[in-house]
């Protein structure tokens, strides 16, 4: 059977996700020695990777509403590569902080994560992403059955934690992180019925 045009489109998008996620990392490798990230590339690099992770996360959260609106079930499969690339960016973001910024001062790294709220929030978000990435291994996915979906609902928490981490980290200029936070709430609002269900079942409504 020949693939339908929707299937072909989904496949093209699938490949685009991989290329689109990989290219910026290749660009970084070329741009840093050229001094394009400035005299001290660490801060720019950290921001670039952190924002990249948020972009990929939000793209992955656009998939389900889009698939529903366009009646294209094939799109759902894009969530996996988007989610894994988001984890890759978040991990690189964290790794740059450990290796290039704090430079393996483990005592300082530990202290900072515990003492600074914005780092704690970022770390929590990364831990959740780690759990989601590990459970994306097909065998584990199958073994988890219904629990998989429950676990992966935690992504909604990450969607809010990540921009809070950003907002809290900046010295001034809260507009940009504010926009990310607004997008997060919009993406959650699209799912309001499902997200509010457990709360509604607990609180009996009058009427």
């Amino acid at each position: 059977m020949r693939p339908s045009s929707k299937q072909i489109l989904a496949r093209i998008l699938h490949v685009s996700v991989h290329i689109g996620s990989l290219l910026p990392i290749v660009w970084l490798f070329l741009a840093i020695p050229q001094g394009r990230l400035g005299g001290d590339p660490v801060q720019e690099l950290t921001h670039f990777l952190g924002k990249g992770a948020i972009h990929l996360l939000y793209l992955s959260l656009c998939v389900t509403p889009l698939a529903k609106a366009l009646k294209m079930g094939q799109l759902i499969r894009l969530r996996r590569p988007l989610g894994l690339w988001c984890f890759a960016y978040a991990t690189l973001h964290f790794a740059v902080w450990i290796t290039l910024d704090l430079q393996f001062y483990w005592s300082l790294i530990g202290e900072e994560i515990v003492e600074r709220n914005y780092l704690l929030v970022g770390f929590l978000a990364w831990l959740i992403l780690l759990a989601l990435a590990i459970t994306s291994i097909p065998r584990i996915m199958r073994a988890m059955k219904n629990r998989w979906k429950k676990l992966h609902n935690w992504v909604y928490l990450v969607a809010v934690l990540a921009p809070i981490h950003f907002l809290w980290s900046v010295k001034s200029g809260i507009i940009e992180p504010g926009i990310y936070l607004a997008i997060a709430f919009f993406l959650l609002w699209l799912r309001r019925d499902r997200l509010l269900k457990p709360i509604r079942s607990l609180v009996p409504l009058k009427g």
Partner: protein, 345 residues
């Protein structure tokens, strides 16, 4: 403070008309060299190594020398090196010091000021000194630069964001400037103000670009801090006048304080009786105090101040411990005798 003075004319005298038009730094190549990329070529051939390395990187990354990659530097200055003993500090490469800047008037990214200040007009420039003084004065800054006995000082520079550089500044002691106007007994503090010109400073025009700060930028010192011989009115760096991104034509340098105290492109100095408002303190009073002395024992609420990333040679800054008063404890600690530095951060 015992000061052994060695006089050494570092430049031949230049009148303003003699100097060549302002130099531009070819950003990319210089950065390559500064980042130690020259080492790649060094193994190939001794003398022409940098050229070879540049050729190697050009062929690898292609040519890109459009005008937008050029960075403004200043004109050569006439100064004397009066600092002695010379501090044992390895200088930050000039290209890094002039392309990694916090000057939100030109944008909040570190690379923004060098990019967005290329056409910044620094001539003419007048500085008003007034307030509680006997002789309020309007200073023609370029006349000052050309007539004052300028000296070079190599200072540590420590940003509140926990990075640092070692920079050769050129200027005159602030106390020399202030004593000319004869402060009265009411002059307890000194208030400084940056130029307000939204047409030239895009960060002042747009709240988004300017990081949500209310401009003009204002800073202040206690009078005894301002009179301290380490407090320098800076007009140049690396042997040249200041480039716009570093606060041309006139900025403050108080090396024992976090960098945000060292206000740039100053147009007004007022001697006042009460502690003046300061920009970062207005924005986040629990994070940035009036004193802002470098102190490894008092953390910023959101990050440790115990260590810093030192931006020197090499592609990646290395972490080093932060020194009390940024290494100037011996000179300035007496200014704060009996003060709780945890309270007066």
């Amino acid at each position: 403070m015992s000061k052994l003075i060695i006089k050494s004319k570092s430049r031949h005298s230049l009148s303003e008309n003699d100097v060549t038009p302002e130099e531009v730094f070819k950003d990319r190549r210089a950065i390559l060299k500064a980042m130690g990329m020259g080492a790649v070529g060094a193994g190939l051939a001794g003398g022409t190594a940098p050229a070879l390395a540049q050729g190697f990187f050009d062929s690898l990354f292609g040519q890109d020398e459009g005008p937008e990659r050029k960075v403004r530097t200043g004109k050569p200055l006439d100064f004397e090196n009066l600092q002695s003993p010379k501090p044992d500090l390895k200088l930050t490469p000039e290209i890094k010091a002039i392309t990694y800047n916090n000057f939100y008037e030109f944008g909040t990214q570190k690379t923004d000021p060098a990019m967005n200040s290329k056409d910044f007009q620094v001539k003419p420039w007048t500085l008003e000194i007034g307030g509680e003084v006997e002789k309020p004065t309007t200073v023609d800054v370029w006349e000052l630069i050309n007539s004052a006995d300028l000296e070079e000082r190599i200072y540590r520079f420590r940003c509140v964001e926990a990075w640092s550089m070692n920079i050769p500044w050129i200027g005159i002691e602030l106390n020399k400037l202030l004593s000319k106007v004869k402060p009265t007994s009411k002059a307890k503090y000194v208030a400084f103000q940056t130029l307000y010109d939204p047409e030239q400073m895009p960060g002042q025009k747009s709240r988004y670009l300017g990081g949500g700060i209310d401009y003009p930028y204002v800073e202040g010192l206690r009078i005894d801090e301002a009179m301290h011989p380490l407090a320098l009115m800076v007009v140049g760096m690396y042997g040249k006048t200041l480039p716009p991104q570093n606060g041309a034509p006139l900025r403050l340098m108080t090396p024992w304080k976090y960098g945000f105290k060292s206000i740039k492109s100053i147009v007004k100095i007022d001697l006042v009786e009460k502690m003046p408002p300061t920009t970062w303190n207005i924005l986040a009073p629990h994070e940035y105090g009036f004193y802002a002395n470098v102190n490894p024992k008092v953390d910023h609420p959101r990050w440790s101040q115990a260590s810093e990333r030192h931006i020197g040679e090499g592609a990646i800054a290395r972490r080093q411990p932060t020194l009390m008063f940024n290494g100037y404890e011996e000179e300035v600690a007496s200014l704060y005798k009996g003060m709780d530095l945890r309270k007066w951060y």
